[in-house]
């Protein structure tokens, strides 16, 4: 994740440093001279020690403060690094505001600039990215059957993700049933059925074109009767801008009353990540996010953007084609990998 961002931040920081520190050196030198002059007159130090001492004090005193225009200029480097890492503009604005507050109009010591920028960035990211909860523990503590619904736009990897999650739950001795509620896309039922038979999990299905909410209802009834632990509902991919399909999703939620609503998003998405996550959250409500295809792209900006708009944690990253390729999202690791 966040390929090259570490280096880019370093570069941006040094660019910022080089472009501004010159500004206040003169002032600091004046002050240092004054101070040394005073001490010479008071007889504290000798004449020949003067130049070294001036340099020493100058270094200590060199601070700078930025006005807004200067800040915009120096932030640009950092903004570019973030943009290249697929962080949406809206999220960059938040980082900009946080940094601005720390830097504009304040006296910052030269030696501490890098630290200040990194610390602010770290704090901002810590605020944006949330710690994932333990899914298995939550399911074990929750009511029975524990109903999880998965949704997202077309082709984001819902069905594969459900199979991966079911594999994880099963390994933790939780019994599952699939609800094949994607009754629209061709062969979606067969696809889930394949996973069901490989993983040896029961599946409730109906014909194509039938009501997805009814399938979910049947699956939950089935789980109740058989005393199964978890119901995993697969839904058809839908565009967040399609009102009718979003209404259908609301209906599924009304009928199934899910304990957990998981948004399955793709890590390749750019600025639209913000819109997609926001719309799904607003209309259906997102409890947690699973980010797929993290092995294709290592930029990681979508993770930051989606967390920022939904304020919901990312539980897992999908990192491959196998069932085991589901990594728990480690916030600390991500931040550490940035060298922050």
């Amino acid at each position: 994740m966040f390929k090259f961002l570490k280096e880019k931040i370093k570069k941006a920081v040094s660019a910022i440093k080089n472009s501004i520190t010159r500004a206040k050196e003169g002032e600091a030198e004046e002050k240092a001279k004054e101070e040394v002059e005073k001490r010479v007159q008071e007889g504290e130090i000798k004449e020949k020690e003067k130049p070294t001492l001036i340099q020493k004090i100058k270094r200590k005193l060199t601070t700078f403060s930025l006005n807004e225009a200067e800040f915009d200029k120096v932030f640009w480097e950092l903004e570019r690094a973030l943009l290249e890492n697929n962080v949406a503009i809206l999220t960059i604005e938040k980082i900009r505001e946080d940094l601005k507050e720390k830097l504009v109009g304040k006296n910052v010591k030269k030696g501490e600039l890098e630290k200040t920028i990194k610390e602010t960035l770290r704090k901002t990211l810590e605020e944006i990215l949330l710690d994932p909860f333990d899914l298995v523990a939550k399911v074990k503590k929750g009511k029975k059957p524990f109903v999880i619904v998965f949704f997202g736009i077309n082709g984001s990897g819902k069905t594969t993700t459900i199979a991966k999650v079911a594999n994880l739950l099963k390994k933790n001795k939780l019994s599952c049933v699939f609800s094949a509620s994607d009754t629209f896309r061709a062969a979606s039922i067969e696809q889930l059925e394949h996973h069901a038979s490989t993983l040896d999990i029961e599946m409730i299905k109906q014909k194509y074109g039938s009501d997805p909410a009814a399938v979910a209802f049947d699956a939950i009834e089935h789980a109740k009767a058989r005393k199964l632990d978890v119901v995993l509902i697969d839904t058809a991919g839908r565009m967040h801008s399609n009102i009718n399909l979003m209404e259908e999703m609301k209906k599924i939620c009304r009928v199934a009353k899910p304990d957990l609503k998981i948004f399955v998003g793709e890590s390749l998405i750019g600025n639209d990540a913000v819109v997609q996550a926001e719309e799904f959250d607003e209309k259906i409500g997102v409890d947690a996010i699973i980010l797929t295809k993290a092995d294709v792209d290592e930029k990681g900006g979508a993770a930051v953007s989606m967390s920022y708009v939904t304020k919901k944690p990312i539980l897992f990253l999908g990192t491959g084609q196998e069932y085991k390729d589901l990594d728990v999202f480690d916030k600390e690791k991500v931040i550490r990998s940035l060298g922050l």
Binding site: N154, S188, E193, G270, N271, A273, V296
Partner: protein, 446 residues
């Protein structure tokens, strides 16, 4: 939803058009606005900077005689955007025997769906098309292709048991030779996966398709460039099929990435159903983004949807000044063949500027369906001469079709309006003002 990028670009250009002086300050502002608009629509950061530099460079030159500095600047931006986001339209030249089109792309980018769209597109135009499924990795990929094939009535070759795609190809190769066009489905992959990379290279070598089409999702971010370049280096892409254009994505990243490979965007996918496909023309697309509309695309659609016979009939009855509910009915069914209203509205010049309420189009579609039902409960006399319909008629129609009488009244009102509208424009063609008037009326009538 390509409009959003257009809005931003339009706003930037409007600034130029309305500025008092065209100077460096204005140029800097314009470049900044453009950068922001393009970055927000996911265009590769480096490409954006190259573009800004070029615009600045070119704007320094003196304009040719007869052209103002302002016009020159707008033209520079227009040309650069076309260079960045799209080239001129290219149509596939289907050659004899059989013409092989192979689809490649990332997982979930919409390969199989797009293949069925393309198959329907060409079979509607009289070609003999078949599809062959070589995706042996994703579960049920073959079932998906088969079900889509049945839906659009196109022959599909699959082998559910075989794991070697090359073997499947060899097995069916002879049979595909009787078709004009063979469309080949492959497994989703990414450029970092070495095994799949080897597989696709081998397939490409053995099958020797005339076209290799990459499906690319419109919402892809900064990864677009590396993805497109990766696939291009492996297979040599000859064209791009842009998918998921019915969402809110601005598609800048995908378009710009496509542009680097010199492979043109051939088609765009604009919905979930097999008929949701459009050809793509970079030049008109940019004009459309900048609010100039695209009559050509609309005309092409109407040509297919309205059979020649129906069209003549409609023209004739319009000329005679007769426009019956039956005609409205024909129009509505022709329109539903064209695809959702929202897409058609986008194509009409002027409509993209008229701010239609966000949900209007989708509501309108549901309504059209119910109108259709109510017409089925009318007598032929009522359809031909709607003026005779009074409230007892409406009550009966409403009962028969289970459509609320209010909506039937509304339909009659709409009918009168359309009739009047055609009267207005008869012989003159539609002017922008007329269209805006129509749009306004649409809003009022809801």
């Amino acid at each position: 939803m390509l409009g959003a990028l257009g809005e931003k670009l339009k706003a930037a250009l409007k600034k130029v058009a309305s500025a008092v002086f065209v100077d460096t300050k204005l140029l800097d502002e314009l470049v900044k606005d453009l950068q922001r608009a393009l970055l927000e629509s996911d265009v590769d950061v480096e490409l954006v900077f190259q573009l800004s530099e070029r615009i600045k460079e070119k704007a320094r030159g003196e304009p040719k005689a007869g052209i103002t500095k302002r016009e020159q600047l707008i033209k520079i931006v227009h040309d650069e955007l076309i260079e960045l986001l799209g080239k001129e339209k290219k149509e596939l030249e289907i050659k004899k025997g059989p013409y092989k089109i192979m689809f490649i792309g990332l997982y979930g980018s919409g390969k199989t769906t797009s293949i069925s769209k393309l198959a329907l597109y060409y079979s509607k135009r009289g070609h003999k098309v078949c599809m062959i499924g070589l995706d042996t990795h994703r579960p049920a990929a073959h079932d998906q292709l088969q079900q889509l094939g049945e839906k659009i009535k196109v022959q599909t070759f699959i082998d559910k048991k075989e794991k070697d795609p090359l073997y499947i190809w060899k097995k069916f190769e002879e049979q595909t030779k009787k078709f004009d066009i063979v469309i080949i489905d492959t497994a989703g992959r990414h450029d970092l996966d070495k095994n799949l990379e080897k597989e696709i290279k081998q397939l490409n070598k053995k099958i020797r398709p005339q076209e290799v089409i990459l499906t690319l999702s419109a919402d892809i971010g900064q990864a677009a460039r590396s993805v497109v370049e990766g696939f291009h280096n492996n297979c040599g892409i000859t064209g791009i099929f842009l998918t998921r254009l019915d969402g809110t994505a601005k598609a800048g990243g995908a378009l710009a990435a496509a542009s680097i490979t010199k492979a043109p965007v051939l088609f765009i996918g604009t919905g979930e159903k097999p008929q949701d496909i459009e050809t793509f023309d970079g030049t008109t697309f940019i004009s459309r983004l900048l609010g100039m509309g695209d009559l050509n695309a609309l005309l092409e659609k109407t040509k297919i949807a309205l059979g020649e016979e129906e069209k003549e009939k409609l023209e004739k009855s319009l000329e005679e000044g007769k426009f019956t509910l039956l005609d409205l009915h024909d129009q509505i069914s022709a329109m539903s063949k064209m695809g959702p209203l929202s897409k058609i509205a986008e194509l009409i010049p002027g409509f993209s500027k008229v701010k239609l309420p966000k949900d209007l189009m989708q509501i309108q579609e549901g309504k059209l369906k119910r109108w259709h039902h109510s017409m089925k409960s009318m007598t032929k006399e009522e359809l031909e001469n709607p003026e005779i319909i009074t409230s007892p008629h409406i009550a009966r129609i409403s009962k028969g079709s289970n459509v609320p009488s209010g909506e039937i009244k509304e339909m009659l009102k709409q009918y009168k309006m359309v009739k009047k509208f055609f009267g207005v424009t008869k012989g003159k063609g539609m002017s922008q003002k007329d269209l805006q008037k129509l749009a306004k009326k649409f809003k009022i009538s809801l």
